[in-house]
Amino acid sequence: MFGYVTPYKSELKVREYDIFKAYYCGLCKTLGKEFNTLVRLGLNYDLTFLALLLSSIEESRETITREGCIVNPIKKKPIVNTNRSLVYTSNISIVLIYYKLLDDWKDDKSVKSLVCTIPFIMPLKKANNVYNKKVTVIKEFLTKLAELEKSKCSRVDEAADTFGKLMEAISVPDYIEDSRTERVLRWIGYNLGRWIYILDAFNDLEEDIKNKNYNPIILQYGYNKNESIDSFKSRVIAPIEFSLTMSLEAIAKSCELLDIRKNRSIIENIVYMGTRYKMESILNKRECRKNEKSI
């Protein structure tokens, strides 16, 4: 996972920012409590958003306490106490990170990744006991994703579909009973996964062209060896931005249909502005860097 789903800070109230941070720290603490301290290093923003979203539809209020933390034990920070959405997302984090690391080991023979999986082995067993169905689904889609890469799928939409479906599956914990809510969460998850996948593919363009790695954008738009990466990027940017914006639109419109009981303003900030900001800065990264150099 990639950490693309963050709030747009400059339009966030200080209190809202504190709550978002409290969820981030809450997820971290829950990882520590449920599993071990080392796995807390795998914490990321995308799953923080999922925890925030899943908590927002709960009837009970979140309880926030001020606690110190390993990184800074003296300064006390607001932290959301462990609740069922945090427990769920922490378990999902474990599974995703474990397989990501394993994947890195298989692909690049990165020994570092293999060593990093060690603290995840026991937690994975634990997660597998409780969330067996989800773990099976995640494994299934990750295998599919690897097959897709092998078969060199040349349609961005199709390649992104698998990761979308993975995120779709993990966006709905089993305890959600209302079928309306389930449908909305699934559609948010699907579009979020798709958005993350395509944005990440764009972000990796330079590296993938250099290393001749699989990247559906390169295949769909036919990168030609004689053109510069910049000119290729400027050629593909418009259709990709459109497709990504439509995904964000679908997420935003789905959130409007969700019975959100708290923290609506933070969620709307993320889906209408934070994700858009992230997307626009990644798509236009090249130009930014040029400007910096000219100063």
Partner: protein
């Protein structure tokens, strides 16, 4: 029935003006145009119904029944009267949400004209494959530029992307990093010039 004030997201005892403003805002938000070919469109319709009921209730109780139209043009799916049987089948499957089946039927057709591309585009939309959806709809529009059904679906995409951006912009979203950098660059250049005894921008 839910509390109508809650549905309209206003305080109890809000004035008529406030009720009307909230109603208008919400109708715009959940308008069927905003959910065309979205798999959740039925949920948006339900929501709109709730809003209409709440509004009617509040207006009736004030003895002032006056409701602006906004929701009733949702089910105006027009079928091409001369469309062949097989496309009707595809459309029916799409409407029922059997997207895979609709796609299967469509893939079995070898003669692929404007309607084929249009329906393929709609299927892509329902799946969330926006890049391909846009391409297929564009082909349909190019093949039959005067078909309003195809054109509406195609332009609806662009207007929805814009509607999404407008919400962010109205809430203060600015992505003017480049503008900032230009200013920074100018100020820095000015400072440098001043250090050397000259001046780039006299007022700074």
């Amino acid at each position: 029935m839910k509390n109508p004030y809650e549905v309209l997201e206003i305080k109890e005892g809000a004035s008529e003006e406030e009720i009307k403003a909230a109603y208008k805002r919400l109708v715009r938000k959940y308008h069927p145009d905003q959910y065309v070919n979205n798999p959740l469109s039925d949920l948006a319709e339900e929501k709109l119904k709730e809003i209409n009921e709440a509004y009617d209730f509040l207006m009736k109780n004030k003895g002032n029944y006056n409701r602006s139209q906004g929701s009733n043009n949702s089910n105006n799916q027009q079928y091409n009267s001369n469309s062949s049987n097989i496309y009707t089948q595809v459309r029916m499957n799409i409407e029922r949400g059997n997207i895979n089946q609709a796609d299967e039927i469509l893939e079995s057709i070898t003669n692929r004209g404007a309607e084929w591309n249009y329906l393929k585009g709609i299927i892509c939309l329902r799946r969330g494959w926006y890049d391909m959806a846009y391409q297929y709809l564009q082909v349909a529009v190019n093949l039959e530029p005067y078909n309003s059904e195809y054109r509406t679906a195609w332009s609806n995409l662009a207007s929805r992307a814009q509607a999404y951006r407008n919400v962010g912009t109205s809430r203060g979203y600015r992505n003017d990093t480049s503008l900032c950098e230009v200013c920074q660059c100018l100020i820095c250049s000015d400072c440098l010039c001043e250090c050397l005894g000259g001046d780039l921008i006299s007022c700074l």
